[in-house]
C-alpha cells in the first residue's frame, strides 16, 4: 500500500512538472486558435488527457510541450464538423494598433505589420498553421512536424511554401493590388 501511495505521489509530481512547465505556452497556443473565452476549457481537456496518458508524455520538456500542442490541435479538430475535421486549424492574428509603442520601431516593420495583417486571411489555414507553429508557437521543425503528424522534411517544405505565399500576398498588398495572389477558390484548398 505504501509503495502504491508513493507511486501515486510520484505520478502526481511528474504531472505537476509537465503541467507547470507547459501551461502558459499551451494556453497561448490555444488562444491563437479559439475565442479567448474557450481557451482555458480546451487547456483543461488537454491536461486531462496528459494526466490520463502520462506515460505517453515525452520526458524532454520541449518535446512534452509539442506533444501537448498536438493533443490540443486534435481536440480543436474533433470539435468541428466532420467535413472539416482533417483540415488545418486556422490561426488568428491580433489587430494592428498604432500608438506610442511604435515610436521605437523601424517604419518598415510598422508598414509590414499592417501588410501582414491584411494578407493573413488570404492564406490557407494550412499555410497559417505552418507559419504560426514556427514563428508564434516557437516550435522547431521536428516539434512542429510532430504536432501535425508529418515528417520534418514535409514540414520544412510546407513552411517554406507558406512563407513564400505570405511574401507574395504582402507584395501584392503593398503594390495596391485589390486581388492579391490567386483566386479565392485556390487559396483555401480542401
Amino acid at each position: 500500500m505504501e509503495s502504491t501511495a508513493s507511486s501515486q505521489r510520484e505520478r502526481e509530481q511528474r504531472f505537476r512538472d509537465v503541467h507547470d512547465a507547459a501551461y502558459v505556452d499551451l494556453l497561448r497556443f490555444v488562444r491563437r486558435r479559439v475565442h479567448p473565452t474557450h481557451a482555458e476549457d480546451v487547456v483543461g481537456d488537454v491536461m486531462l488527457v496528459a494526466w490520463r496518458r502520462l506515460d505517453d508524455v515525452p520526458a524532454d520538456p520541449s518535446a512534452a510541450r509539442a506533444w501537448l500542442f498536438g493533443v490540443a490541435r486534435k481536440t480543436l479538430q474533433n470539435t468541428r464538423r466532420r467535413e472539416d475535421r482533417h483540415d488545418a486549424v486556422a490561426v488568428r492574428l491580433g489587430e494592428v494598433r498604432h500608438g506610442p509603442a511604435d515610436a521605437g520601431h523601424h517604419p518598415d516593420l510598422i508598414a509590414c505589420r499592417a501588410d501582414i495583417a491584411a494578407a493573413w486571411p488570404l492564406l490557407s489555414t494550412t499555410d497559417q498553421e505552418a507559419i504560426a507553429l514556427s514563428v508564434l508557437d516557437g516550435l522547431t521543425a521536428p516539434e512542429a512536424a510532430a504536432v501535425l503528424g508529418i515528417s520534418s522534411t514535409a514540414f520544412r517544405l510546407r513552411l517554406s511554401r507558406a512563407r513564400r505565399t505570405l511574401r507574395r500576398h504582402v507584395t501584392s498588398t503593398t503594390a495596391g493590388d485589390p486581388r492579391p495572389g490567386r483566386p479565392a477558390s485556390e487559396r483555401s484548398p480542401r
Partner: protein
C-alpha cells in the same frame, strides 16, 4: 540577402501581431488553473475519466465523449437533435445480433479505444447494422457505448477515425418499470469519419419484447432489445438552420402481441 532580411522583418512583424503575447498569468487565471489541476489529479490517472467533469451528466441530455483516435485527444460535443442524413450507406433499420465471439472482440476494441479497464462491465447490447457494429457495455455505475465499422472489430483501433466511443461514469440506476413500459435513459448525437448519427438507449419492462423508433425524418427503426435494455442508432445530420431539430417516438411491442405508442 534581401529575402533573408525580408523574412526577418516578416517574422518580427508577425510576433507583433501575436494575439497571445507572453504575459504573466493573472491571479484569477492562476486560481482557475490550480482548481483545474486539483480536479484532474483527483481523478484516477490510469483510468478513463469524463472529459467534461464539471458538467453534470443527466438522462436524456448527456454530453458525449468522441474520440478521434489518430491523436491522443478527446473532445466533448454537446448533444444536438438532428435531421435525416445520407451517411452510413450500409445501415439497416433492422439490427442483427452479434455472435458471442464477435461481441467479445468488439468489447475488447471498445475498451482499448476508450482506454477503459475491464471492471466487470458486461456486454449489455451488441448489434450490427450493415457494416457497423454497435456495443453497449454496462457495469456498476459505468457505461461505454462504441460504434465502429465491422472491420475494426478485434483490431487495434489506434489511428482510426471511423470509431465513436462514449464513456459515462455516472449512469443512472436501472429504473423500476411497469411491465409494459420503457424508459429512455440516454439520447445523443455523435460522429465518426462516416458522418453524424443519433442513438438512444434505455430500459424495458418485463413484458416488452420489442421497441420501434419513429423519427421525424421518417425512419422506422427496430431497436435491439436484450434483457432489460433497448438501444438503437441511425444516421443523421448535424443540426443547422436548414436541418431542424429531429424528434422521435416509440412503438412498444408486448408479449401478448399488442403494441402501445409512447414518446
Amino acid at each position: 540577402m534581401r529575402r533573408h532580411a525580408a523574412d526577418t522583418v516578416v517574422t518580427e512583424a508577425l510576433r507583433h501581431l501575436d494575439p497571445a503575447p507572453r504575459t504573466d498569468m493573472t491571479e484569477a487565471e492562476r486560481e482557475r488553473a490550480d482548481a483545474a489541476f486539483a480536479r484532474i489529479v483527483a481523478t484516477p490517472g490510469d483510468e478513463p475519466v469524463p472529459l467534461e467533469a464539471d458538467r453534470p451528466l443527466r438522462r436524456r441530455s448527456r454530453l458525449l465523449v468522441a474520440l478521434g483516435l489518430a491523436g491522443a485527444a478527446g473532445a466533448a460535443i454537446p448533444v444536438l437533435l438532428l435531421g435525416g442524413g445520407t451517411a452510413y450507406g450500409s445501415w439497416t433499420p433492422r439490427p442483427e445480433p452479434l455472435t458471442d465471439v464477435a461481441a467479445v472482440k468488439a468489447a475488447t476494441t471498445c475498451r482499448t479505444a476508450l482506454n477503459v479497464p475491464d471492471r466487470g462491465e458486461r456486454v449489455a447490447m451488441a448489434e450490427r447494422r450493415g457494416e457497423w457494429t454497435y456495443l453497449l457495455l454496462a457495469g456498476s455505475g459505468t457505461e461505454a457505448i462504441c460504434l465502429m465499422p465491422d472491420d475494426l472489430v478485434g483490431q487495434d483501433p489506434t489511428a482510426r477515425e471511423d470509431f465513436f466511443g462514449s464513456y459515462d461514469t455516472d449512469t443512472v440506476a436501472p429504473p423500476t418499470l411497469d411491465p409494459d413500459r420503457i424508459d429512455e435513459t440516454t439520447s445523443m448525437q455523435g460522429s465518426t469519419e462516416e458522418g453524424w448519427f443519433s442513438s438512444v438507449e434505455g430500459y424495458v419492462g418485463s413484458d416488452v419484447t420489442g421497441v420501434t423508433v419513429h423519427t421525424s425524418s421518417g425512419l422506422d427503426i427496430e431497436a435491439s432489445v436484450t434483457g432489460n435494455r433497448f438501444a438503437a442508432w441511425w444516421p443523421s445530420s448535424k443540426q443547422s438552420s436548414d436541418q431542424p431539430a429531429q424528434t422521435w417516438s416509440y412503438t412498444v411491442h408486448l408479449a401478448d402481441g399488442s403494441t402501445r405508442r409512447t414518446s
